[in-house]
Amino acid sequence: MPSDHPGRQRTDPSTNRTDTSTDSPSHSAGHTATETADSAGGATAGASSSARPGSTPMEPSALPPSTAVVATLARLYPFFRPAIPRFVAGMLCALGASLCALGIPQALRWAVDGPLMGAVGSSDRTGIWQAIALVLGLGVLEAGLIAARRAFILIPGTKVEASMRLALFRHLQDLPSAFHDQWPGGQLLSRSMSDLGMLRRWLSFGLVMLVVNTSTIAVGIGLMVHGGGWLGIAYLAGALPVIWFSYRFSSRFRRISRLSQDQAGDLATTVEESVHGIRVLKAFGRGREAYQNFSVQADQLRRTEMNKARTLGAFTFAITAISEVMLGLCLLAGVWLAIEGQISVGDLVAFFATAVVVAGPVEQLGHLVSMTLYAKTAVDRYFEVLDSPNTVADPEHPRRPDEVRGQVQFDGVHFSYPDEPTPDQTWRDPDRPRERPRTEVLDGIDLEIRPGETMALVGLTGSGKSTLISLVPRLFDVTAGTVRIDGVDVRDYSRHHLREIVSIAFEDSTLFSATVRENVLLGAPQGHDGEEDLQRALTVAQAQFAHALPRGVDTTIGEEGLSLSGGQRQRLALARAVAARPRVLVLDDPLSALDVATEEAVTAQLRQELAGTTTLVVAHRPSTVALADRVAVLQDGRISAVGTHTDLLATHEHYRFVISSLVDPVSAGPEDAAVPPSTRSAEVGF
């Protein structure tokens, strides 16, 4: 780990500790941006990174920077391809405009030398009108070409940006929960907005100017070498240190700009969390600490930006000074050559006139190169996400049974959370050995839920119940073993079809900014009578309060609308799961936020509703268990018993411990337990 990077600023607004946490799970990206930059997009980086395991991260890149930049930008090709003709046309216009601009002084000179001088004393004014017309024509043409350049380039520039933004969004939606658990939201957002905006500006301005300026410089120096001979070559020699400086500059600048973009993403994450967690911050009065923490982070970004400006300043100084000092030396040499008679004064004038024309683009080069490098980092960051493989993908040939009975079977299911390296480690060293063995959340689950049956899943907090049920609609994939529906591995269904069969209600009920109707009918089958589904679902979930909202079921709720209480949200989430008319219903403690009376009403309705639907319900309370035909006890990552509530209550000690509030856990003796109490359950509370 480099010691001089500003370190990960904890995004936890509560603590003011700004120590550099060098432990592994830090999100902060970009400590070691050099390597990222080398590996050009990260996807194919495996070989290059593993080839130098001991390399210090600050080591300058082994590849020539131009190659890496070109390689990265080449990845834009698929997005850029439709825009190429217009870009080429735009660039030609830009070059044409430059030529016109160069031509106007020539036309002036010609007019003055020719018609004007000739006409003095005579009365022939046609030549003068012609000259004026020429100047005017060139002027109009230049403006026209500039307008044409913009017209050609602006549309494709925005289209490339839009198509890339959309591709990112699609990919992000496709990626599984495991990915989203790892990536902070601000980092994704900054890629989608800032980075792509940067890219658009570069495409519609930077790229064109880079090409125009480079060609102007090349043509100019060519003319200088052609007309000035040794003088031109001497001037050209100045390019060598410039190239060296550019090389040094670009590796340094890339690292800094990567850091700044990553810090900007972290800052966005902090803002996001400070808003999402505003209630907690307010409840504990921690606004000040959150603010201080944010300030420290924002100040780090400021420092990085300052560092960037210093680097850019130094580079601009270097290239301006070198080219101008070379010109100064050429001036002396030119005077000497002119006296020696090796060069005419006219050539000397032409040489320097051209040099003045070249000076502008040379000076702008620093800015353009930095913009290009910035765009390159933006593209790197973009593809890092776009290249993340989807670990929960659709099968190549999805199975689609005609009729789904809804039998769910867990067969030797193991699961451990993908302790995959956090985003910044991915590019640091994908082959890094894992620090500790993975802890298995599920350690061989065997369970069958018969078609139409309601099965309750009971276990301690943190025993993996939510994890187990999220395997059914493939929110996560098993690490080993299989989950089958009607004998077909869930991984053999298309995700879309699978999630049509399986509907889920989460414990923390996410509602979207939409009307009650839209939220409830979110997963409802198309073609059904929506209204009927809606009413039925609202009744089952005892969510009739929706009718009393200001605009009834058409009231907008969620973040952009009316805020509802926890109990109300939970009932709508339940209604949503029911309205989907699934074959398999998965409920995660669906009644936790309901009061006793409502709970009772919901239970009665649900029991009716669930007849015929295979249901797996996570239960913490006997009242929820009452929904179920059978109960499965999840203990130490395994199903330790399956049976009816009454049987288990009589025979299973752990079950009694978990579900019964009447039994004193200490006095409950092990003699009547069907399964010996595990070490974990013996420790009270876990």
Partner: protein
């Protein structure tokens, strides 16, 4: 919604981009005021930057003159054997080149410092403001919009600041310099230039009007895009579970297209503005040429002077592209600043009194005096609440959803202010207590236990940032969270990841309970804080609560009557009124609602 001009408009009407003249002027002025206040402390730095820009420009402008001198004077002198002038000119050239380079490097750094200081200042102001604003505001203003203010809008300003200062200063000064030189050389040619200012002004007015609206639309469109993005990614599990990918893609594609289309329109506008200025310049050169050429023919003007005036006229328009770019990014930034200044203008509905009463050690005596409250103007949640909670009492609030239990909790923790009547803590109106003292005295734990990214330890320490590890561990032990925390891969140093990905809902609630324990307030409010706990967990919390609540005032809202059982007093609420009030044993013995509720709950237990 049209606000009266004298009242602060804030973020109302934020999404309206077609403002009438007066409103448009109002928000524009507001945003310029903000820019001015941001620039004010940096005045000297700003001036210094401009000075360096001038120095760099002057040094660069000297180059061609020196070359001319070397050729005109240096060569003849050297031919006469005197190398002095040539060498001197060459040396001066090298020195000016170095000066130009150094000044350029200098102003790049200084401009960055100005720009970054402004951005930091503004970021902090926006952050502080969002923390200051009441919950009422946050419930209608989405997180995505705040994020977009803090990111995309600031990016627009950054763009202006990064290139703006230098291009404005150098371009403007250059034009002034050239313009004055032209006047001195030939005032009649200068007049031509003055006339040319008229179309420039007209075009700029046109551009300003059009672009103002488009950039406003652009800010709104970008905010919508961000809001949608944030909402989708935050709720990604539900998106997956209910197969919303395609529908979301369509919505997002529309929003992207809207944003793209508007961007294209602003760029198109700029694509007319910039060439139009260029055209004006070029036409002016031709006019100046015509004007001068005939004067030359009539013998009124020297040819040399004509050439010079033409070159000056041409040069005058050289930085026009730069200026157009500046003006364009200025328009964009101004639109962004309009939104930001609107957010900054919002006044929190719950704010600290001007002369707050310090209450360093509260005992926790709560008193509701004819408290009236409703969300918004028309609703009444609490019509008239009178209640006295002596210090140290544990009160349980029971009742149906919508009975007003949570409202009571929110009023005590001052998330909202009462609309009528008074709410007193230790005899002091809550609105008079300093925020700091109030937050120390009153802590609320809600059902949604939000965890910030960071470690478990950090999340508990949120309650008391100066707490040492022992205190944090003690708090976790007290609520029965210690065991599961130590079982995590890295114990207290485990990263909870985004949105507490790795800990279950029940465990999240335990962590949030530990926070409350660590905060050690005089008044503790638990609003459905145990809903996700399992029975053993609840049992442990219960035990912890008995110690925790022993010597403090507590308001417990729970539908689990097991939690209520530890209360000294139960209040049954219905439609904003207290309908039953008494010790739990007494109420159970009666025939009221609580007795019925308790019976139902008893029956559900096994």
């Amino acid at each position: 919604m049209r606000a009266v001009p004298v009242t602060p408009r804030g973020v109302t009407d934020e999404e309206n981009s077609h403002l009438d003249r007066a409103d448009s002027r109002l928000v524009r002025r507001r945003s310029l005021r903000l820019l001015g206040s941001l620039l004010a402390p940096l005045k000297r730095l700003f001036v210094l930057t401009v000075v360096l820009v001038v120095a760099a420009q002057a040094a660069k402008a000297a180059g061609p003159a020196l070359i001319a001198r070397a050729i005109d004077v240096g060569i003849p002198a050297a031919q006469d054997g005197s190398w002095g002038p040539a060498v001197l000119t060459g040396a001066v050239y090298v020195v000016t080149a170095l000066v130009a380079g150094a000044a350029t490097a200098g102003y790049i750094r200084l401009a960055a410092r100005v720009s970054q200081s402004i951005l930091l200042d503004l970021r902090q102001r926006v952050f502080r403001q969002t923390q200051r604003l009441s919950l009422e505001f946050h419930e209608s203003y989405t997180s995505g919009r705040i994020i977009s203010r803090q990111t995309a809008d600031l990016d627009a300003l950054k763009e202006l600041l990064d290139s703006g200062i230098t291009s404005l200063a150098s371009g403007f000064l250059y034009m002034m310099f050239v313009g004055i030189s032209l006047f001195l050389l030939d005032w009649q040619a200068g007049l031509v230039l003055l006339v040319a200012v008229i179309p420039v002004w007209l075009i700029t007015r046109w551009f300003q009007k059009r672009s103002q609206v488009l950039y406003r639309i652009s800010r709104v469109a970008s905010a919508r895009l961000i809001v949608n993005f944030v909402e989708t990614m935050t709720g990604i599990r539900a998106v997956h579970a209910f197969r919303r990918e395609d529908a979301n893609n369509r919505t997002y594609a529309d929003l992207t297209e809207e944003y793209r289309h508007n961007n294209a329109r602003t760029m198109g506008l700029n694509g007319i503005y910039d060439p139009a200025l260029q055209l004006t310049g070029n036409v002016t050169v031709a006019v100046a040429m015509a004007f001068g050429a005939f004067r030359v023919l009539d013998g009124q003007l020297e040819v040399g002077v004509l050439i010079a005036t033409l070159l000056y006229t041409k040069r005058f328009f050289q930085p026009v592209g730069q200026m157009a770019m500046f003006y364009n990014s200025f328009q964009s930034a101004a639109a962004a600043l309009e939104k930001i200044s609107g957010l900054l203008e919002e006044v929190p509905t719950v704010r600290q009194a001007e002369r707050p009463v310090p209450l360093p050690t509260a005992s926790g005596h709560l008193r509701f005096e004819h408290v009236r409250f409703g969300y918004g103007k028309d609703s009444v949640v609490l019509p008239d609440l009178d209640l006295d909670v002596p210090a140290g009492q544990t009160v349980a609030l029971v009742g149906q959803t919508g009975a007003g239990k949570s409202t009571v909790a929110k009023l005590v923790s001052r998330f909202y202010d009462v609309t009528g009547g008074r709410l007193l803590l230790d005899g002091v109106d809550l609105r008079e207590v300093t925020m700091r003292d109030l937050r120390r005295a009153v802590v609320m734990v809600t059902q949604e236990a939000y965890l910030f990214s960071g470690t478990v330890r950090d999340n508990i320490a949120l309650a008391r940032p100066d707490a040492d590890d022992a205190a944090i561990e003690a708090a976790a032990r007290a609520v029965g969270a210690h065991d599961f925390i130590t079982a995590l891969p890295e114990g207290y140093d485990s990263d909870v990841n985004k949105r507490g990905g790795r800990v279950s809902a029940g465990q999240r609630q335990l962590i949030s309970f530990a926070r409350a324990f660590l905060a050690d307030p005089a008044v503790l409010i638990l609003d459905e804080a145990t809903s996700s706990l399992d029975i053993p967990g609840e049992r442990l919390v219960q035990r912890g609560l008995q110690t925790l609540l022993a010597d403090r005032t507590a308001i417990i809202i729970a539908h689990r009557l097991s939690t209520v059982a530890i209360a000294d007093r139960v209040l049954v609420m219905s439609e904003g009124r207290v309908v039953e009030d008494g010790a739990p044993e007494d109420l159970i013995g009666g025939t009221g609602r609580y007795a019925a509720l308790h019976q139902a709950w008893q029956d559900s237990l096994v």
